[in-house]
């Protein structure tokens, strides 16, 4: 079958100008619009998740005092502004759930997967544009459903974002039935959306690359998103299956996780973490990839060791499947298995180390332009290192006995997910904002936002290590119950104040984001003097992206190449010595 004639064309190309508002901005099949839709949706959820974090922090810092404006909450959540323990448990659960599933994951995979993959590969759109649209709207519905859980009787799910059975399996133990069921349904529906997105990304990357865009000419951001899509594709169904089983336990009386009738409690943990550990990498790999792009651009140098960066990504993805047990060292799991998981966990730290050193190598002898995305990227490296190193403490099983389920873990996960992923998201949003909206974000506000965030972020999360070392358990409503935690109250208050400040300075980012949309400086095609294909088209790019099929002559990181005068050399620029790839074959 001839390959040129095949493919369901996004027929809209031809008639782009005749589309109604609804088809163009709401039910759009354009990957760029869908990416922006994901961006706006995830920012709203990021705000929700952040507000929940603030309530949690208030409770931990000032257990006796009513929450400011807490009177606005209904009696069932916070009578007189004081949070109820059951509502606190819901908050802890939903903060995790929302941030992981509806903020960070769609921000990294949904937004940048959609926006960047076709543009950076030189494709007119995704392989399956309508599936792509469906993916967004299904994810959106899952989000609405998830938020609706707060308003059902009994409150929202309160068994933690990990929903350990049997706490989550039987309403008797938490007092929550409807909320937990909504949680499970929403997760299963979101899983469907994620799988649809992932199969779109994989197919697009494999099949729709422009001529000359060989595997090892793909930017690391695309490599990372591709590897991530594979992880999503294979990990999410495990969670969906487990969620469905738990849902049946809740609703039709099955016994999968009911130990009294042949079920197994620990099976949930195995299934959850078999999904959950690849998920951790889903939440960081795209960040790593995009940061690699931005650091090369900022340093005006090729990425140090491009190939080893790619292999590090791939080996992280592989090893990510055999380390899930390190979440379960203290769960009563077979101790021999614990040993195995410890070794595999130690090994998976190596590719992460390689990446960090390669980022440093990229900056070395560069000519570093500290634009806002670069600041955030360097911040990412600096913070990710802390998250990575603190992971080694947990990987060591005996040390984990002590720090498991303490604030040390909380500090670790936030260094990876906030210090890591979220800084990378700030970097990436600022970096590709001009492409998305045709205008630059204000760089002064951006710099102030970065420094304040960096400062308050560290003031918030670094002391959490110390709480953990003192033995402070996670997910407890009122630490003053324990004598050994009472001396930590001042530290808890300090963290709370820092967290409130951290939350407040995000207003700068939001304001910058919104204001720049209307008032920002007009961006040209290539404001950062970068090499990628997306910078060869107008900002924002037209429907269909490329008027003419681009041809790629080189890798994405030819900065300061001796071949040309300027310090960047675009992938599509044809030099005298370049051969046309059509002749050379794919």
């Amino acid at each position: 079958m001839a390959t040129s004639a095949v493919s369901l064309e996004p027929a809209a190309h031809v008639e782009a100008h005749e589309l109604s508002f609804l088809r163009k901005y709401i039910f759009s099949t354009d990957h760029k619009i869908i990416g922006i839709q994901f961006l706006l949706m995830s920012f709203v959820f990021l705000l929700f998740g952040g507000l929940m974090a603030m309530m949690i922090r208030w409770q931990l810092g000032f257990p006796e005092r009513p929450l400011p404006a807490g009177q606005l909450l209904p009696e069932t959540m916070a009578p007189g502004g004081i949070l109820l323990p059951e509502f606190y448990n819901s908050l802890v659960t939903m903060h995790g759930t929302i941030m992981v599933f509806f903020a960070i994951m769609p921000l990294l995979v949904g937004v940048f997967g959609n926006y960047l993959i076709p543009l950076k590969l030189g494709a007119p759109d995704m392989a399956f544009p309508r599936l792509n649209m469906a993916s967004f709207w299904i994810a959106f519905s899952a989000g609405i459903l998830m938020m609706a859980g707060f308003f059902v009787e009994g409150g929202h799910a309160a068994a933690g974002w990990t929903a350990y059975a049997p706490l989550s399996a039987d309403p008797e133990w938490t007092g929550v039935s409807g909320g937990q069921q909504i949680w499970l349904l929403s997760i299963a529906i979101l899983g469907l959306a994620s799988i649809m997105g992932a199969l779109n990304y994989i197919t697009t990357v494999v099949n729709l690359r422009a001529p000359g865009m060989t595997w090892f000419r793909m930017p690391l951001s695309i490599w990372a998103l591709f590897v991530t899509a594979i992880l999503v594709l294979l990990a999410i169904p495990i969670l969906s299956g487990a969620a469905i089983m738990l849902f049946f336990d809740q609703t039709i009386g099955t016994h999968f996780f009911d130990w009294t009738d042949g079920g197994q409690v620990i099976l949930w943990q195995h299934l959850f973490w078999y999904f959950g550990h690849p998920e951790v990498y889903i939440l960081i790999l795209p960040a790593m990839g995009m940061v690699s792009d931005i650091i090369a651009n900022g340093s005006r140098k090729p990425v140090f060791g491009y190939h080893s960066m790619v292999f590090a990504l791939i080996s992280i993805a592989f090893l990510g499947w055999v380390v899930w047990g390190h979440h379960m060292f203290q769960s009563g799991m077979n101790p021999t298995l614990g040993m195995t998981f410890m070794i595999s966990t130690m090994i998976i730290a190596v590719p992460s180390a390689i990446k960090v050193f390669n980022w440093m190598g990229t900056m070395w002898r560069g000519n570093i332009r500290f634009h806002v995305p670069m600041l955030h990227s360097v911040g990412f490296v600096a913070m990710f290192v802390i998250g990575g190193l603190s992971g080694i403490f947990m990987a060591s099983t005996p040390v984990d006995i002590y720090i498991h389920d303490t604030y040390f873990i909380v500090a670790h996960i936030h260094y990876v997910l906030f210090g890591g992923s979220l800084f990378a998201i700030f970097a990436a949003v600022t970096y590709w904002y001009p492409k998305m909206f045709g205008r630059m974000m204000n760089s002064t506000v951006g710099k102030v936002h970065f420094w304040l965030t960096f400062l308050f972020y560290n003031m918030t999360f670094f002391p959490m290590h110390d709480l953990g070392i003192a033995g402070h358990m996670r997910r407890i409503y009122d630490p003053s119950q324990y004598e050994f935690l009472q001396p930590l109250a001042p530290l808890n208050r300090f963290i709370t104040v820092s967290a409130l400040l951290l939350f407040t300075v995000q207003i700068l980012f939001a304001a910058n984001f919104i204001m720049s949309w209307f008032k920002g400086k007009k961006a040209g095609e290539n404001p950062w003097e970068a090499n990628g294909l997306e910078w060869t088209v107008a900002s924002p790019p037209p429907h269909g992206n490329f008027a003419k099929v681009p041809t790629v002559y080189r890798g994405p990181y030819e900065y300061s190449s001796p071949l040309v005068e300027e310090d960047f050399l675009m992938q599509t620029r044809k030099l005298a010595s370049d051969v046309d790839p059509a002749a050379a074959g794919p």
């Binding site: 933690g160 049997p166 706490l167 008797e172 007092g175 130990w259 079920g263 197994q264 409690v265 620990i266 140098k301 090729p302 990425v303 140090f304 060791g305 190939h307 080893s308 203290q330 009563g332 614990g338 040993m339 410890m342 070794i343 090994i347 190596v350 390689i354 050193f357 440093m360 190598g361 900056m363 560069g366 000519n367 570093i368 500290f370 290192v385 080694i392 403490f393 099983t397 005996p398 040390v399 006995i401 002590y402 389920d405 290590h465 110390d466 070392i469 003192a470 033995g471 358990m473 996670r474 997910r475 407890i476 409503y477 004598e483 050994f484 900065y559 300061s560 190449s561 001796p562 310090d567």
Partner: protein
């Protein structure tokens, strides 16, 4: 702020704390190297007009070094940890002379079952003390954790002991206290509404005091 572990009071504390400090030193070095490196590079190689970055694509030698060094270090940490892990949680790690207890855990209390005067668990003269664990010093004890509803986790910070109690699983944890005194037991796994106040105490007695306490309690239990 402090990176020093609180004082330990069991035989595990020495091993675990040692490992912790080893890792702290190693990661501390890595931390300083990376952060200082980033800072130095950021200052030294900041953009200056008229300069071009050096076109360097990478170095196999450098890649090998920074693959091998972390790999070797981590495997060494892993091997060091393995021995300690087996000593604490291995399948056959429980010393034969450990005093057995049964702990029935439920929302939100710990019920410690003691051997009665006959020295056997599971007989009619066993007695239960709610939220109080009394043990002798310098003698291993073995707790069988029996969760009756959801997962809880037995955590004594001072002893560096933590073990989930999972319903339907046979779970045993052991330790040996080294200092007489009173310590707090916490639940470390979210177990519902009252998780935050699922607190108990462990009393470590000298051998004589422990015998005394045991016979007092047994007598009291007898009278009931």
């Amino acid at each position: 702020m402090s990176w020093i572990l609180p004082p330990g009071a069991s035989t595990f504390a020495g091993d675990i704390d040692f490992l912790y400090y080893v890792i702290l030193v190693i990661t501390g070095i890595a931390f300083v190297v990376v952060e200082v490196g980033l800072l130095v590079f950021a200052i030294k190689y900041r953009a200056r007009p008229g300069r071009k970055a050096q076109y360097i694509e990478g170095s196999i030698k450098a890649e090998i070094i920074w693959t091998a060094v972390p790999a070797v270090t981590l495997v060494i940490i892993g091997l060091m940890s393995g021995g300690v892990w087996n000593h604490i949680k291995g399948r056959n790690s429980i010393p034969p002379n450990a005093i057995p207890y049964e702990v029935h855990v439920k929302q939100f209390e710990w019920n410690f079952t003691y051997r009665g005067p006959d020295g056997q668990l599971g007989t009619s003269d066993d007695f239960i003390v709610r939220n109080q664990l009394h043990i002798p010093v310098n003698r291993p004890v073995e707790l069988q954790l029996i969760a009756e509803d959801v997962i809880h986790s037995f955590f004594v910070p001072a002893f560096r002991v933590k073990q989930d109690a999972v319903p339907g699983m046979d779970i045993r944890v052991w330790f040996e206290a080294t200092k007489v005194g009173e310590y707090e037991i916490a639940c470390a796994e979210l177990c519902g509404l009252g998780h935050y106040r699922m607190r108990a105490r462990v009393f470590v007695h000298s051998a004589e005091d422990y015998q005394q306490w045991l016979s007092d309690r047994a007598a009291a239990a007898d009278e009931e």
